[in-house]
Symmetry: C2
Subunit: 385 residues, 2 copies
């Protein structure tokens, strides 16, 4: 039931003709209250799409009535006209819902540069039909309508003590911290103050979506929105809510990783023994972005030299001659030299575990990434054609 | 004639059995004087190979008698034994040349983790036979012996007013600033003081090899060495020497780019209108490292959105809504919106020109890179197998 699993939310997904396939491409998620708490985190890319520029204003007061999302066009770098399209999208939804346009979040995903008159007309039509079709069972169809190159719709539900959190995500590549080509809507019927919802969202995304780095490429359109309506009447224990929200985000992040474009391995990079969490994250990201390492994993080649070479480009505290590397449980490098023979490492499973022990401290961090494959090159060389 | 084009240098390349193909794999370049000025720049990767750790000590006094290079094994992360191998290599060459081991630079390239007893014995044998075969015509065979996945040997010669500079380079991927998987030896018979040679080398590499970024991966073994012997008896005009050395380095860098593993496009990224050179370099490198942009170029797709998305991840001064992008002479994006239709851009030639005009200042920088191709993935997934 995804975003409609918690009480007091309605959703819909409709086909508005933005996708040439005729599949659903406009989604609407509406909060029926009683509270209208809403907050979001956005891409840290300085090249931000029009819907991001619009939505940043919307969430400033932490009040959100609804989220409108479209696939089939990013409405990014489409000029002043494109910003007006995001604005008009919010106005259309607001008019039909009887609320203020300033409380409508807008999200778009697809090709940068797409956002002309035809795009605008289709989105507005989709909003109209989406709102007409809203229902408390509409979560799955909304989750489908935000898919682009995703092969499966991505949803998750986590239950708490009298309250529920539901979420949907889209993303299949261009996944990098800050955030990814990722649109996520999370709903909860827990009774949260705006600052509580905001703090919980930032904490949860910081250790989940922000540590997913499929291909090092940061998107212009990413947004993770949390809506909280208090419909359960239950004020949650905040630690329990934090934990549940992080759990939900981790589930969705894992699904994004597992559906990354063209990937044949899901690589979990666990950095141990770091002097700080920041060091552990920097090391993990550097390895996650190293094309030579990622190509080696595609070839089932436990090339640990490329791991050390990637660590060497960071500023993290470490001694290249006292670092251990494990691949799928086998210690292939210890203290800057070869350890177990490469033949012992079986890299044929899709799930791949890389452990790096820096041996200088007690901090740890885990980064999720994928391998670099022929299919990745193929899908991304043919994207706009 | 490459490194033996200037007077007073001898070289040789021999097959010592490090390469399974039986091709030449050990090279020696000897300075016959009268002066023995030598300086080098090294990879900035903190994970440095044994020959780098050795050679950094050698060049500290700016006196170098000879350079010994091997392909077929990086001698990196091979433990204390590996460092001793570099040391023994220098001792062997010093003994045969009647000079000090502390004046012998050692360079290695190949797979990280390769450097056992067999490797050591073959290298030492190669040094012996290389020195026995030294000649003033040996430059080309030395250039051949340092090739790994290179498809052609890379050499250049630039003449000055009474003096000559010669150079050889190896590298075919893992090319990134600081430096690349690049071994370069440059010789000159110009009469230079040690500090003059050092300053000239740093200036020249800073705008050439350091701006070549094939795949964003920084090597553990890179070294560019300059030997100057004054055999011409001519003290060069320093500006003219600087210019000639930069020209030679630019020629070699271009050859490295054109031979990058699996590449089908050589992309020249010119960043104009930057507030500072540092900004221009940061923007160029960010685009050069964006896998989505690089895959698009492979697919002959002028996907300028990915260029703006890459710029947005930098700290450079720029306005995403006032930036122009040209591909092969066609302005595809202006002021944050689409300009000329994509059909006007012909990306079929191998040489690809990307111009980014940030429109905030007068500074400029050019970064050389390659596209991301099926062949790149193939070659780098099978490297150690």
């Amino acid at each position: 039931m995804t975003v409609t699993a918690p009480q007091g939310f309605e959703a819909a997904g409709v086909a508005a003709g933005l996708k040439s396939t005729g599949k659903p491409d406009v989604a609407v998620v509406v909060n029926r209250g009683p509270r209208k708490v809403g907050t979001a985190v956005f891409t840290s890319n300085r090249a931000k799409a029009n819907p991001i520029l619009w939505s940043q204003q919307v969430v400033a007061d932490k009040v959100v009535e609804a989220v409108v999302l479209n696939s089939g066009g990013a409405n990014c770098f489409t000029g002043e006209f494109g910003f007006q399209t995001s604005h008009l999208t919010a106005e259309k939804a607001a008019e039909l819902l009887g609320v203020s346009a300033g409380d409508i979040v807008v999200c778009s995903t697809g090709l940068i540069g797409t956002g002309d008159e035809v795009f605008r007309a289709k989105v507005l039509d989709g909003v109209e039909r989406g709102i007409a079709g809203l229902s408390a069972e509409g979560g799955p169809s909304a989750a489908e309508a935000i898919m682009t190159t995703d092969t499966v719709s991505k949803t998750a539900v986590v239950g708490g003590d009298g309250w529920t959190i539901g979420g949907m995500a889209k993303g299949a590549g261009m996944l990098a911290p800050g955030l990814a080509t990722m649109l996520v809507v999370i709903t909860t019927d827990a009774d949260l103050e705006a600052h509580e919802a905001d703090a919980a969202l930032r904490r949860a995304t910081g250790t989940t979506f922000d540590r997913l780095d499929s291909d090092g490429c940061m998107s212009t359109n990413d947004q993770v929105t949390l809506l909280a309506n208090g419909a359960s009447g239950v004020k949650p224990d905040l630690d329990a809510f934090d934990e549940a929200l992080a759990d939900l985000c981790a589930q969705l992040a894992k699904k994004l990783q597992q559906d990354a474009e063209g990937a044949s391995h899901d690589i979990t990079i666990e950095v141990r023994g770091a002097a700080s969490v920041a060091d552990a994250v920097e090391v993990g990201r550097s390895v996650a972005r190293n094309n030579l390492f990622k190509a080696a994993i595609f070839g089932n080649d436990p090339n640990w030299g490329r791991v050390l070479a990637a660590i060497g480009t960071t500023n993290a505290e470490f001694d290249p001659y006292d670092t251990d590397v494990f691949m799928n449980g086998v210690r292939v490098c210890t203290a800057g030299g070869p350890d177990r023979p490469r033949e012992e490492v079986d890299l044929t499973p899709r799930a791949t575990d890389l452990i790096i022990d820096l041996k200088v401290g007690d901090e740890t961090a885990t980064i999720l990434t994928n391998d670099l494959t022929h299919d990745y090159v193929h899908e991304n060389s043919a994207y706009s054609s």
